[in-house]
Amino acid sequence: MNAEKKELKNYVYMDNAATTKPYPEIVEYMSFVQENFYWNPSALYGFGVQSERLIRRARNSVASLIGAHEDEIYFTSGGTESNNWALIGSIRAFDGKRKHIITSSVEHPSVTATTEYLKQAGFEITVVPVDRQGFVDPQQVLDEIRSDTCLISIISVQNEVGTIEPCQEIGLCLSQMGPKAPIFHIDAVQGLGHVHIDVNKWGVDLMTLSSHKIHGPKGVGALFIRKETPIKPLIFGGDQEKGLRAGTENLAGICGFRMACDMCKNDMDETRDKLVKFKTKLVAGITEAFPDAVLNGPDIHLSAPHIVNFSFPGFRGETILYGLEERGVLVSTGSSCSSRKREPSPILLAMGKTQEEAWSAIRFSMSRFTTEKDVEATVLAVEDCLKKLEPWRKKMI
């Protein structure tokens, strides 16, 4: 145990899009809540009411980070549940009268697997393609709308390459369609804390949020549901979350999420400026260290500041990942959800990248804890690792 602790400290963590290190204050606060506020928030005695009050406070913090009202925040177990709920819940609300969903070809697996399930259940799914930078064309999305379109679901920041999708453009056009407009859902898991989100300006009806991507605890997230949006529950039981999401509230998690939102709101602009600088440095450094590297995704200023994705043609991404791990730098070969499967990234293929590029991709992702030294160490590790692996170039399968 002690040896492990010691080792952990020496790593450069460049996999923040997978999950982030929680603020120590949050860990401490959550332990306090778990010890002292173990009451069921539905209980009628005073302690229960106190616990409920903590949840309301959290709702307020989450809401204020995305320009929503606290009554529009529903806590869930995380991003995956929120995405599942958004899609299945709105389909159910239309009771078979609307059977069509529009998404993009670069959605997170928690969206694509859900639409795949709905497809098998008889619903129609239109997947709008993206360009080489990963952008979906707003006009193309709007062109696909039919009279029976129930929902449009778009990712705000693509989790593998960092492309910031034109959610606002789509939302504005939808707002002008009046009551017939489909429900608009945004998966904002990667966007939260890195891009300014305003659910009203964006014209969003549903928005998925996750705590552990902004230094909060795992196992908690939220779905923003605009008032009057038709949605049915996904999880049935007690009448928590106004009867829309049953289950005793994860109070400690929710309190941790609240604290993460508050801290995120405080230093968002500062962090953004810092990460843009780091990203510029990282891209330049890697390009210099390995001129054949291909930057995946759009230009620095059109993508999220925390995600950098490179292909290293001739190598397998997985081998580079282990090589970097050997040098104390932790990265990912794409979305962490697909990294255990032996498949090239479907996101990169959807962006028109070659098989070789998709097999050889590495995602570096930063957070407010990343330092300039981390960036420098990463560049050095990439350089050293690829030099060592040079004999293997083009010889791996």
Partner: protein, 401 residues
């Protein structure tokens, strides 16, 4: 009345002058397995009597676990729970009723009447009743005291065995088969090359079952393959350790050798060269560990490196005999065996090993020794082997979290 586990062993009873050595080894293996995996209670003992072992001194709640553990030890033919009573008719009757009540409660046949018979052996001739007399007497007592039973001498559901011996009478009902074979250790020592695939764990198991005290050597090519590729082998070895409580896994750092091969050796001989290097490393390692033979999971014709020509050229590099227990098995037979010993599901996890990333597009299927030797001319074989052997480390098979 005392509860014991009766352990039967087969083949080793035949081994003439070695018999005592074989029995002592099996006894030690059983005791070690039970102490490691179930309980380190020092009261637990393995006693020997008339070609049987008896496990005694365990807590009643550990009985099932002990059965599980013992039924996996090579050399054990069968294990069953038994009770020992004094050589007094009343005590035998009481014990018989107790054990039959338990047996009836456990059996479920979907009909109301369960049939049984009593089968008595009486090596202790001083006991006042003969075997047929005991069969009748005990049968009658059971019929009277245990409801829902009837006698069937030809095809009973339950056979109650009575063994009247010097030190007491043993009563037992059902039997769990063990793997058979020989106790690990009696056939000498060796090293098994283990890859994480389906075949090599089966090969390791078969070596253990024929009494070889094997340890495992895995060639690991970090960072070409990752931590999970190694963890997979660790998990496989944890399963194999059930059959050989002192089984150990060693990891050989193979990246440098593979890098040299990929840089400096002809592509079509890449796999042959790699296998030859593995044999050299394994030879050194095995000798250092006091072993005398190398086991592999090789099988005739499965892949290009497993033709007779390839096997011959590979074997040439080894300084010890190579044994291939699976050589003539069909893949489906190997898979069945892997499922039986419990390594199949782990082997099927998708993490690559050092071989699978290394296979060229057109490997040579009929290599010659001259060309294989020529293929190695640009690498410093001795130095690479020496460095690899020096880098071998034991992997922890204990859970550390």
């Amino acid at each position: 009345m005392e509860k014991v586990l009766l352990i039967r062993y087969g083949e080793i009873g035949l081994k003439g002058q070695n018999r005592k050595y074989f029995e002592d080894t099996l006894r030690r293996n059983i005791l070690l397995a039970v102490r490691n995996q179930v309980s380190d209670n020092q009261d637990i003992q393995v006693l020997r009597s008339y070609g049987r072992f008896y496990l005694t001194g365990f807590d009643a709640e550990h009985q099932e676990e002990c059965m599980d553990v013992i039924s996996k030890i090579p050399g054990v033919v069968g294990v069953c729970p038994a009770i020992v009573v004094d050589n007094v008719v009343d005590a035998v009757e009481e014990g018989a009723v107790a054990i039959m009540k338990e047996a009836v409660a456990q059996i479920s046949l979907g009909r109301s009447t369960v049939t049984f018979k009593v089968s008595t052996k009486r090596p202790n001739k001083s006991f006042p009743f003969t075997s047929p007399e005991m069969n009748q007497r005990i049968g009658a007592v059971i019929l009277k005291n245990v409801p829902g039973l009837s006698v069937d001498l030809h095809n009973p559901d339950i056979i109650l065995n009575l063994e009247i011996r010097e030190k007491g009478t043993y009563l037992y009902v059902y039997d769990r088969p063990g793997p058979g074979g020989l106790p690990v250790g009696v056939s000498g020592r060796g090293t098994v090359l283990i890859s994480g695939g389906i075949d090599s764990p089966v090969s390791a198991y078969m070596a253990m079952k024929r009494g070889v005290d094997v340890n495992a050597l895995h060639f690991w090519s970090y960072p070409i393959t990752g931590q999970r590729a190694k963890d997979k082998v660790v998990d496989i070895c944890k399963v194999l350790r059930q059959f050989h409580p002192q089984f150990r896994l060693f990891i050989a750092p193979f990246t440098d050798i593979q890098t040299q091969i990929i840089e400096k050796c002809p592509e079509n001989y890449r796999v042959i060269t790699m296998r030859r290097m593995m044999m050299r490393v394994a030879t050194e390692f095995c000798k250092n560990e006091g072993g005398q033979v190398i086991f592999t999971g090789e099988n005739l014709g499965q892949v290009a490196s497993q033709t007779l020509e390839s096997l011959t050229v590979i074997e040439d590099a080894a300084g010890l005999p190579i044994l291939r227990p699976l050589i003539c098995f069909d893949k489906t037979e190997i898979i069945d065996k892997a499922k039986e010993i419990g390594t199949y599901d782990i082997s099927c996890l998708p993490y690559e090993d050092c071989c699978s990333v290394f296979v060229p597009k057109h490997p040579v299927t009929k290599p010659t020794l001259e060309r294989a030797i020529a293929a190695e001319k640009n690498i410093d074989v001795d130095l690479l082997v020496k460095e690899c052997v020096e880098g071998i480390r034991e992997a922890q098979l204990e859970d550390d979290i």
